[in-house]
Symmetry: C2
Subunit: 265 residues, 2 copies
Amino acid sequence: MSSGENFPLTQRLARLIALSPGEIAMLREFQASPRNVARGREIVLEGRKYDGLMVLIDGVALRYRVLQDGRRQVLNIILPGDFIGFPGCFFESALYSIAALGDCTVSPVPFSRLLGLFETFPRLGAAIFWSLSCETAMYAEHLIGVGRRSALERVAHFLLEMQTRLQAIGLADDHSFRLPLTQELLADALGLSVQYVNQTLRQLREEDLVSVERHQVTIHNYEALTALADFERTYINRFRMAEFSAENWLETEMPNLTAGTRQAP
Amino acid sequence: MSSGENFPLTQRLARLIALSPGEIAMLREFQASPRNVARGREIVLEGRKYDGLMVLIDGVALRYRVLQDGRRQVLNIILPGDFIGFPGCFFESALYSIAALGDCTVSPVPFSRLLGLFETFPRLGAAIFWSLSCETAMYAEHLIGVGRRSALERVAHFLLEMQTRLQAIGLADDHSFRLPLTQELLADALGLSVQYVNQTLRQLREEDLVSVERHQVTIHNYEALTALADFERTYINRFRMAEFSAENWLETEMPNLTAGTRQAP
DNA sequence: CGGTACATTGAAGGGGCTCAATCCACGTGG
DNA sequence: CCACGTGGATTGAGCCCCTTCAATGTACCG
């Protein structure tokens, strides 16, 4: 992408709240000292001492864990405007590794400055809080998929989620986008084997739902795909900046305490 | 447990940083208006409007999602001192449901007060930030388990994690603790079927590693169990309150880009 | 042109699921 | 006190989704 005029974090937060000039200037500082990371290199290595918080400015990165015997779980895909180093930066050593998928540029942000943000620009602090909440919600959605969805549903859901996230930052149109992931990484993200991911992709292609060819994803039937995946595109964008009162809350009977424990059909 | 003198959030944060009298008073406010929730009732219902942030004072609660056809995924177990309403409170409607497992008491905390915290007691704000990071990290660990561990490893890991968490708040000793979960909920937490959870528990019992009888878990061979589960007990407690500098960071070759995509043996 | 990384396909096996009972503990009411 | 109902635990048989193993195909690169 571009070289220096790229402020994805600003753009992301501007979608949530109207930013004042002061807030824009503050956010610019967060993204002011970009550093390049070459394709395939580690930005953070699990177990090493952690060096701080960063914002991904450009490129795509991966957070993952490798177990003793080589099994690997990809935890999430990090896109421009996402923070790197959360939640790991609060621990003595990194909990997970992060690697640059393509060439990336990242910008370190001193943690003290992030905390100071809550004093000087509390609204901005809340927005960043939201951004991190959003990331946590994606972990939860990911967990639901791996825990309770079939391979077909899982792949479909993943592709739709990537489409939504990429479109939000202008890297996807309605029907097509570039996904710089090998099938092996896809498998490690979804908790499947490479071969079965391949077979699942073929099935999705043969049913004219999606096709992915040479890292280019094309959605042929959006409705059928969302139905198959049970996809809720809303949650990623629906932010609520209102005041929060906790005067009354719901207390209704739990409807389906016995409804669970069913597998993918 | 007790009725009114119970401040689990204070206790949790006191383990991280030395609290000043002012900070203690502030935290007490967070836990000052306890409300009771009867066993089996919903504290938060997915899709409904969200009413704010709360702290769980006493009891055990569950966060979960039920899919269309009844499949259910339990996302995490909420223990005293944990926040309820994160990450959901930032969204227009609740993303997940939360139900009281036994009788619970919760205390609502106005969101404005949480944000104000960063101004008046920034250190406390950072500690709460950490607490939420810890929750996110648990989602990630959960994801690793469900994605890449065998049923045996998964159950073992889960029991060890619960032991660690419960021990940190004084609800477990070294070898035994009470786990108020049915095998059905266990299955929905681990992405397995009830029957297979049962079989796995039997296997763990027959190999003299753990046994769980009438909601009481007894660990017979801690070393063998941690080895089997590849359990890292450290991450839950290792907090780092130091200043964060981002001057230099690691940039080493990615060692195992081809090591992944292996299943549980 | 050989090497390397990735994609693709097939056959065979297993881990974990479904279906279907039975059993057990416990509370409830007669 | 016993009969009974109910929620949960347990066990077994059969099957299927997904994995493993093995091999071939294909693009890109020096």
